[in-house]
Amino acid sequence: MAKKVLLVDDSTTTLMMEEMILKQRTAYQTVTAKDGLDAIARAVEETPDLVLMDVVMPRMNGFEACKRMRLESSLRNTPIILVTTRGEEEYVEAGFQSGCNDYITKPINSRELVTLLHNYLGE
């Protein structure tokens, strides 16, 4: 069965790009969410194998959504990768404190993204 990736971003442009890259370069199935609150609901419902989530979003940001996902027993061990516009140490540290496993900086490069996802999910 194909591995499932939950893509979370309030930007439809980013979601379209990520979906296209994963469709062309991987066999993963994708589901999407538009903000942190939506992401938690989708994650509980879909139990994805990995979550790729933006940080700056309306209603609930990626750090908070990550923290709350870690409180759900079904998502406690799900790899969460945060997508940030800033790679500064403090920002990355905040991400790891919220419970994420890894991070990637925008703008996303297809090779970097696919390699990162392969590391967690296999090819």
Binding site: T12, T13, T14, M20, T85, P107, N109, S110, R111
Partner: protein, 171 residues
């Protein structure tokens, strides 16, 4: 010989990955702009594309005055609007090229600045609608992780030039 073939394979893989990145970004940019529902959504699409696909969070859109002699700030994101509210086209040689429909990119540190302002400018993009240049999109500083625009970014600028016209005028 093996090392040469391995190196060539790596280069081919890198080229394929770059091509896919470009293809995915251009597809996303074009689809987003074409599916924008009104002017406000089109402006949001421009912001999303610049920030998320190109790594530029300082963007401004300028509109011509009646004589097409000056450009006035129409919309911006991430810059101080009072600092860059107006450009006199005759005093900005690169803008004259843009007004004629050419996209102008910053070619690197040794090149002259694109505009006579202190803020770094990465690209000047003519916004074309019904075959006419209606305004200019200015991409200022890139995010620190970006060292410059690549081929994919240049293709995205082409898309912005040809599909962002709705951002300048209510439908």
């Amino acid at each position: 010989m093996t090392a040469f073939l391995s190196h060539r394979k790596q280069n081919e893989e890198q080229d394929a990955a770059n091509a896919l990145t470009a293809q995915a970004k251009v597809y996303a940019a074009m689809t987003r702009l074409q599916s924008s529902v009104d002017q406000a959504d089109s402006l949001e699409a421009v912001r999303e594309i610049a920030a998320n696909l190109m790594g530029c969070e300082e963007v401004a859109l300028y509109k011509f005055d009646q004589d097409r002699a000056a450009l006035w700030l129409y919309w911006s994101f991430g810059i101080d609007p009072n600092k860059h509210s107006y450009f006199d086209i005759i005093r900005e040689p690169r803008l004259e090229q843009v007004v004629a429909g050419k996209i102008v990119f910053d070619a690197g540190s040794n090149d002259a600045a694109l505009l006579s302002i202190a803020t770094p400018v990465t690209a000047l993009v003519p916004i074309i609608s019904s075959g006419q240049v209606r305004g200019v999109l200015v991409l200022f500083r890139l995010l620190p992780q970006r060292t410059g625009l690549d081929a994919a970014d240049q293709q995205i600028c082409e898309v912005l030039s040809n599909y962002a016209g709705r951002a300048l005028a209510p439908v």
